[in-house]
Symmetry: C2
Subunit: 483 residues, 2 copies
């Protein structure tokens, strides 16, 4: 056996010492991986949506050190099927309704694959002019689709840049705002700067502030993470204007909906803000990561974020005729991210994209109606987009309410009831997620534990929403039966 093994290893080893980018081998393995992923999508519903593994499961299954000799792709794919897929929470499952969606698509996938194939490192224009210029084109297209004013577009005086995530977009704009304000009031006053957000602003703002120090900066949100609530941009921007404050609009989730005329009003007043960002990797068919940031004054960004070094100098940059995106973001190196966004826009077209988003909203509305039609449940906050915040009302469920009646008017009884309701809903959510049939997540709004049902996985159809509602009802029935 030993000799057979080592013969195999040797043979295998020698076949793998070929150039690691040999085009014919690339073609062979590339086709295998496409089939592997296509099969994964086809079999998706067989897997529990939320991974059911326990902490530390993987280290037990894998060797303690890297192999010394090559392993064939067939073995690796076998291990991925066997060991990795059980540890994956399937964000592309049609039964995924957790957090916010990571709405994928064939076009988004192909775009990422193409840019991975080119594997260009795009820190400045010259390092691949097409990558920078396609980003101009795509960000202007998308800015128009959102009805952003010319002041945010390259065809105007502003411009757009694709960041990795909202955290980066907020950090960059925060640093620009800080430096702009310090230039006015003096560096020594850094300790006096403050920033504003609501209690529902994403924690990315706090994180960015920790990294950069406090600022005179306001972050408004279009579609908060907890409940998809919307801050009033126009009235906030009137205040920031008065005080010369930078105002950033974080539309990470809901920005995409604003390409539909019927949702555009949510960003009315955007002409008065300094910067605006939304994540195409959330609800816009583009794979992670792709955060679109537009600024009115790119100079404010580049003043804070530009670097120069001899080894990066080139005539194109010196000519000032080109944009070097390295100066618009935290990182120097950047992937060719506009490719996937461009493919999404072209492959689906504006009208279809609107219709895809509307179909998600319609499914969320359907779920909302189902919740509302059963008086054992309530929708907790108004639904704005494709996410429904609901909960079971266990006081109404219980045959014997044990004196805990939410209608009693007794404040103490109400508090006890709330705690009971919260526990019940936490239990409901955990039981559903543990079944592997659906994955939803929660938030707490003014002390109320709420289940978030976010529609947006590309494979989700009406039948999955109806099935999810059945899972909710059945789980509640079971919970009551065992009491």
């Amino acid at each position: 056996m030993g000799s057979l093994d080592s013969h195999y290893e040797e043979e295998n080893s020698s076949s793998n010492t070929a150039n690691p980018l040999n085009p014919e081998e690339f073609r062979r393995q590339g086709h295998m991986i496409i089939d592997f992923i296509a099969d994964y999508y086809q079999n998706m519903e067989k897997y529990p949506v939320l991974s059911q593994v326990q902490p530390g499961y993987l280290a037990k299954l894998l060797p303690k050190s890297a192999p010394n000799i090559p392993e064939p792709i067939e073995t690796i794919l076998h291990d991925i099927q066997q060991y990795i897929i059980p540890g994956i929470t399937h964000w592309q499952s049609p039964n995924y309704f957790a957090y916010f969606p990571a709405t994928s698509s064939i076009a988004g996938f192909l775009g990422e694959v193409l840019s991975t194939g080119f594997n260009v490192v795009v820190f400045n224009w010259i390092s691949s002019p097409a990558a920078t210029e396609l980003e101009f084109v795509t960000m202007d297209w998308l800015g128009q689709m959102l009805g952003l004013p010319q002041s945010f577009l390259f065809s105007g005086v502003g411009g757009g840049v694709i960041q990795g995530t909202t955290c980066e977009a907020i950090l960059c704009t925060l640093v620009a705002a800080r430096d702009q304000m310090l230039a006015k009031v003096g560096r020594e006053n850094i300790g006096k700067l403050v920033f504003y957000g609501s209690d529902q602003t994403h924690c990315a703002l706090l994180k960015a502030a920790k990294v950069a120090g406090l600022e005179s900066f306001l972050c408004a949100t279009i579609g908060t993470t907890s409940t998809t609530a919307v801050d009033p941009i126009r009235s906030l921007s009137e205040v920031t204007k008065e005080y010369g404050m930078w105002i950033h609009v974080d539309a990470a989730y809901a920005g995409s909906a604003c390409i539909c005329p019927e949702y555009r009003h949510f960003i009315d007043g955007v002409e008065n803000v300094n910067s605006f960002s939304f994540n195409a990797h959330k609800w816009f068919f583009t794979t992670l990561d792709c955060c679109c940031l537009w600024v009115k004054d790119p100079g404010a960004l580049t003043k804070s974020l530009s670097t120069s070094a001899e080894y990066l100098k080139n005539n194109a940059s010196d000519s000032k005729q080109v944009v070097d995106y390295k100066d618009w973001q935290i990182t120097l190196s950047r992937r060719f991210r506009s490719m996937k966004l461009w493919l999404v826009l072209r492959s689906y077209g504006v009208e279809n994209l609107r219709n895809f988003l509307r179909s998600h909203v319609k499914m969320a509305k359907r779920f909302q109606q189902l919740v509302e039609s059963d008086n054992r449940f309530e929708v907790v906050v108004p639904r704005n987009f494709a996410m429904v915040c609901f909960r079971a009302l266990p006081t109404r469920l219980k045959k014997e309410p044990n004196g805990c009646n939410i209608e009693s008017g007794n404040i103490e009884a109400k508090l006890i009831d709330q705690e009971y309701a919260n526990d019940f809903n936490r239990n409901l959510l955990e039981t559903m997620n543990a079944s592997g049939k659906v994955f939803m997540t929660h938030t707490i709004v003014e002390g109320i534990y709420v289940i978030r049902f976010a529609v947006g996985a590309t494979l989700t159809e009406d039948k999955h929403v109806i099935k999810a509602w059945e899972v909710v009802q059945e789980t509640v029935d079971d919970m009551l039966a065992t009491k």
Copy 2:
């Protein structure tokens, strides 16, 4: 014609309104894209390495707004071939010797494609346990390959995290170092903090300091960007130890070489530093982006970078049994980056990986010998890894030296000569790059304009290095002939 067009559009439109993640359509288009990229690699040498387009070329070729209706993938791929590829600087070309390489591989590509296919958003353990746990495994494997002490590994008390780029790794460690120092000396002393680097430290350090404020922090470099010089870790760490300073080792380029026993001595003393990073996307067969960062005290990172919000809470996180990588980095959302690194390690194995790197060093040595064998050229600084810094010596080239003789001993003459030499080499580099036959870049070392010849593109073979040298010689011959 009009009716034919609209018929086509309608037919096409309806076929594209199918689910954007339909597995069979995914399979069809996925195979097309693999063939497209395989063909790209096969035809690579037909393209000029450095893109020859002019600023603004692309906007003229593309429509001013996104299409309203879907366009077929065939049309889009045609446009990529026609409009995008001419604007690409081909980092994967065997004739690419610029900056540092972005050494790609089939395994690295497949890993990125797989993680794009899964498209999971990995901010905490529960959002895909396999992604977090594979990162543990892979970072420990790689740490062992580098001979990092146990104190940096999960199997010890430290741990590794995959960041996007070195800029992020440096920013994160800088912020951790700042907060650690401020906890000792008081927040009010933020203005007194300083950071140290050499004049060859990467500009990422300056940028991070701009974002975060100054620190008591030292950044040592293994393989500087200009010349691949190496800072002495052991003696620097003795100083930082004395002053309680955080020391970070930036081995962005040369870290990978340290998996070879003969190069490991460059990071001797690493047991005394706080953090260590290298870019697997530079010279380690992994596609952009993949920066490996190890820290001895993960708590210092998470203290500065952690966030919490109700909507992210879950039992696994509460149990403290899992790592939530969101608290190890700037961004909350993160791609499943360990997949590609794992595939690289498994597909090639440690011994082959070493041999691949050695083959690049061998080619660089070959180029060095060629330079040294022609007395019209000189190697300017010692070659440490797979990069040769060289220049032409135009004083020796000129038939009539016009009194500018570098051996003259006259200081003024020497200065004039240096300027002349610098101009000559700048001209030489620009002429070679404009030919499309090779792409190299430059730096300036102590006033001397130097051409950097970095070997590492995966498709590069001996013959390409020899050809590159011929291009250098022919260009110089032509430059002299036209004088």
